[in-house]
Amino acid sequence: MAGGGGKANMKPLGGVHRLREEHEKVVKDCDSRIQHWMKVSGDYDALSDRLKTLPDRLSYDIMVPFGPLAFTPGKLVRTNEVTVLLGDNWFAKCSAKQAQAVVDHRMKHVKKELDDLAKTRKNFEARVGLAKDLETMSANKGEFVDIREEVTSSTASKGKQRIAHKPNSKPKLDVVVDLNEEEEEKEGGTGTMTEEELWRRLDELERLEELQDEQDRLSDTADTNGDDSSSSSSEEEKEAACAPPVNGLKPGWSPAPHSDPPLPNRKAEDDEQEEEGSCLPTIFFSHTVEPKKVRINTGKNTTLKFSERKEQKEHSKRKKKNGHSNGHAHHELHKITSPADVYRLFVDVRNGEPVPRKSILKSRSRENSVCSDTSESSAADFEERRVTGRSFSHDEATHSDTSDGVTEEDSPTAGPLLSRFEAFSGTVIEKDPMPTGVPHLTILPPALPTIPERKQEEVASDVTPPPVPPEASKRLSKFKAARLQQK
C-alpha cells in the first residue's frame, strides 16, 4: 500500500515532467522547422536576386559542373528563359520575370509558414514555463498547499431544500394585505392633499412664519430698547384692537404681567389668532415707535425719564380695563406709530384752536406746545389740551402716558378701527374690510394730518361701525384670498 501511495504521489510529478519534456520537444521541433524555413527563405531571396539580374546580359561565361569532380567552361545563353518546378512534378517554362513572380508567391507562403511556426513556438514556450512552475510547485510542498475538499453525497444533500416557486404562484397573503393598506393610505394622503390640504398647509406655514417673525422682533426690541414690557404691551394692545368689540377677552389674558418674556404673550396671540375669525387681516411689524422717544426729541426737556414702573402700572390698569370692557382696548393702540402721528401729536394751541406745528424739532414753550405724551409734569397742560383736543384727536388719549380711563372710554369705538390704517402702525392691512368709501389714512399727507383725518373718523364714528363680513375679516393670505376669489 505504501508503494501505491508513493506511486500516486509521484505520478503527477512524473506527468508534469513528461509534459514539460513534450512541450520542450515541440518547441525544439518548431525551432528546427523555423531554421529550415529561414534557409528556404534565404534561398528564395538569392534566387530572386539572381532572376532579377539574369536577363541583364545576353550570355554568361560560367563553369558548368561536369560530374561530381570536374567543371567545364561553358556559356549561359537564353538568360530570360527559366524552367520552374512548380511542384508535384510540374514544370513550367517561363521568363525570368514570371519566375520572379513565382518566387514571390513562394516567399509569401514561406513567410506565412514562418509566422505560424513562431506562433506555435511561443505558445509552447509558455506551456513549458507553466510546466516548469508546476514542477517546482509540486516539488516544494512547503510553499504551496494543495487545497482539496472532498465532496461526498451526504454533504451534498445536507441542508434545507429550496423550493423553486413558479413565477405565477400567488404571493404571500399578509404581504398582499400590507400592500393594499399602504396603497389606501397613499390614496387617502395624496387624494385629499391635492388642493385643500395643500392650501391649509400653506396657510399654516405662513402663520408660523409670522409668529416666528414676531418672536424675533420681540426679542430684538427687548434687546435694543431695554424695556420689553412696553413693546409687549403694545403687542397686546394690538391684539386687543384686532379683537372685535363683541369678542370677550379671556380673563386669563388680561392680568398677564408685562414683564413676562414674550413667549407666553405669543401663545396668547396664537390663541387670539385662532379665536378671532372676524379680525382684520393684519400683519404685525416690529416697529413700535415709542412715545418716549418722540418726547426725547421734542426739545429742552428731553431728559424726562420714563419710569417703567409707572408704565407698568398703567399697563396693568389698562389690562384691567380691557378685562372689563375690551371695546376700548383699541384706543390704546393709537400711539405714535408713524411720522404722521408725530405731527398730529405736536400741536400748537392758538386761540384755543389746535394748529399743526411746522416743526417738532423747534423747542417752544411748554405752554404753547402740546405734547400728547407728556409726563406728569405737563399733566395740567395735557388735561387742558385734552378738553380742547378731544374733539379733533382721539388718538392723543391713547398716546398719552397719563391717559386715564375717562378718555379712553370717551373715544368712539369705530375710530380706532379706522385709525389703524396708518403707515407704520405696526400692522399692515392686506385687505380692506371697510367700505370703499372710506379712504386709507395712510394716503394722507403727513404735514396736516389731523383735520381731514378727524373728519373722516368723525364720519366713520357717526356711522355705526361697519359690519365686517366674516370671511373678509379673516386673516387672509394672498393665496387664500386668490383662492376665495376663484371660488
Partner: protein
C-alpha cells in the same frame, strides 16, 4: 490461471500495438497528403500566374511531357480534389482506428488488473 491471463494479455498487446502501428501509418499518410495538398495548392496558384505563352511540362519518369496549360490546370484541380478526398478518408479511418485503440487499451488495463490479482493470489498462496 495467471499464465492464461498473461497469454491473453500478450495477444491483446500485440493487437494493440498493431492498431497503434496502423494509426501511425495512416497518420503519416495523412501528413503526406497534407503536404501534397499544400504543394498542389501552390502549383495551382502559380499556374494561375502563368499565361498561354508558357509551356508546361509534367515530369513523368525521366522525361518531361509537354502539357497544355488548361489541361495542366484541370489536372491539378482534379488532383486537389483527389487529395482532399483522401484526407477525408484517412480522417475517418484515423477516428475508427483510435476508437479501436481505446478499446484495446481498456481491455489491456482490465487484463493487467486481472493479472495483478492472479499474481497476488498466487503470491498469497506462496
Amino acid at each position: 490461471m495467471a499464465d492464461a491471463i498473461q497469454k491473453k494479455l500478450k495477444a491483446e498487446l500485440e493487437k494493440y500495438s498493431q492498431v497503434q502501428k496502423d494509426v501511425s501509418k495512416s497518420m503519416s499518410v495523412r501528413q503526406k497528403l497534407e503536404t501534397q495538398l499544400t504543394e498542389n495548392n501552390i502549383v495551382k496558384e502559380e499556374l494561375d500566374l502563368l499565361d498561354s505563352s508558357n509551356t508546361i511540362y509534367k515530369l513523368i519518369g525521366p522525361v518531361l511531357v509537354k502539357q497544355d496549360l488548361d489541361e495542366a490546370k484541370a489536372t491539378v484541380t482534379k488532383r486537389l480534389e483527389y487529395i482532399n478526398g483522401e484526407i477525408q478518408r484517412y480522417e475517418t479511418l484515423l477516428k475508427d482506428m483510435e476508437k479501436r485503440a481505446d478499446d484495446h487499451r481498456e481491455v489491456l488495463t482490465s487484463l493487467q488488473q486481472e493479472l495483478h490479482k492472479a499474481q497476488g493470489r498466487t503470491g498469497g498462496k506462496i
